[in-house]
Amino acid sequence: MDAKYEELGNNLRLALKREDAPDGFATRVLERVEVRPRWDWWPRLVPAIALALIVATSSAGFRAVKQRRGEEAREQAIVALTLTSEKLQMARAIIFRHREESK
């Protein structure tokens, strides 16, 4: 700093000297910090939410697979029953024909 500002600088240092914050300042800040709603808890819920989502999706998937397999089994059973019924019809027809011929 220039010599011409030397005295001015000293006066400024005196005039702008730090002052203590008002009494109870820090306590008031602390109270406001504690009163303020805290939103820092939600990251702790992320793993739980993720786990719940995984369980929900996998159980839904499991149910869907189970249902699909059930439907497939039902269809197969119907086909099998239809085939059996046709075979029985054919056997009945043959037996009936043999009876008619033997008369």
């Binding site: 600088g9 400024l12 000297k17 002052e19 914050a21 820090a26 504690e34």
Partner: protein
């Protein structure tokens, strides 16, 4: 909450003197946010007070700055980092608050500021006059002067705190000192006449 505040008040009494003298390293105390608050409250409050010349507004602004620090505590790496952060945010908020005040049409700085009474000592009168001259400076020049002479920062540190190039800070500083010198001379001449 009450117990925590009481414990904190005890710590605060022990640390308050050091705080006013120039600040404590939070890592030395190991108290986290509370220690940063105690160590830097005088600095933040004084920057705001010297800028705004209003104790209530300064206290309010300083509280908001510390609440912002609390919200950003995870990004603070050290006591030094916190001090720089607080200086930068306080400076920004000082400028913002005067802009908002202008918009709201509040009372001008000089009009709102208590002038020293004749009963005060010559030293107090001189200090009050000087502080008043600083308050009459344009915002950015005022802030540069406060950071230079209250905080004893050099040009690069002021540049960092205000987010402007060091050359601009040097220009602001020269301009502010010249303005203050002129105002002081004018005041001296007017009192002699």
């Amino acid at each position: 909450m009450g117990v925590r505040v009481l414990v904190f008040e005890k710590r605060m009494e022990a640390l308050a003197a050091d705080s006013a003298a120039g600040g404590l390293a939070a890592t030395d105390i190991g108290l986290g946010f509370e220690s940063l608050l105690v160590a830097n409250q005088a600095m933040v409050f004084s920057i705001a007070l010297n800028f705004l010349r209003d104790r209530e507004l300064a206290a309010e602004l300083a509280q908001d700055v510390f609440l912002a620090l609390h919200r950003n505590l995870k990004s603070i790496q050290s006591a030094d980092h916190a001090r720089h952060w607080l200086r930068r945010v306080t400076s920004q908020r000082c400028i913002d608050s005067t802009r908002r005040a202008k918009v709201r049409g509040e009372v001008a700085l000089e009009a709102a500021w208590d002038v020293a009474t004749p009963a005060d000592s010559a030293d107090v009168v001189a200090r009050t006059r000087m502080a008043r001259l600083v308050a009459s400076l344009p915002e950015k020049l005022r802030l540069v002067i406060i950071l230079r002479f209250q905080e004893d920062l050099d040009v690069p540190d002021i540049a960092e705190a205000l987010g402007i190039p060091p050359r601009t800070v040097r220009g602001h500083l020269d301009q502010a000192l010249e303005l203050l010198r002129e105002k002081e001379q004018r005041w001296t001449r007017s009192t002699k006449n």
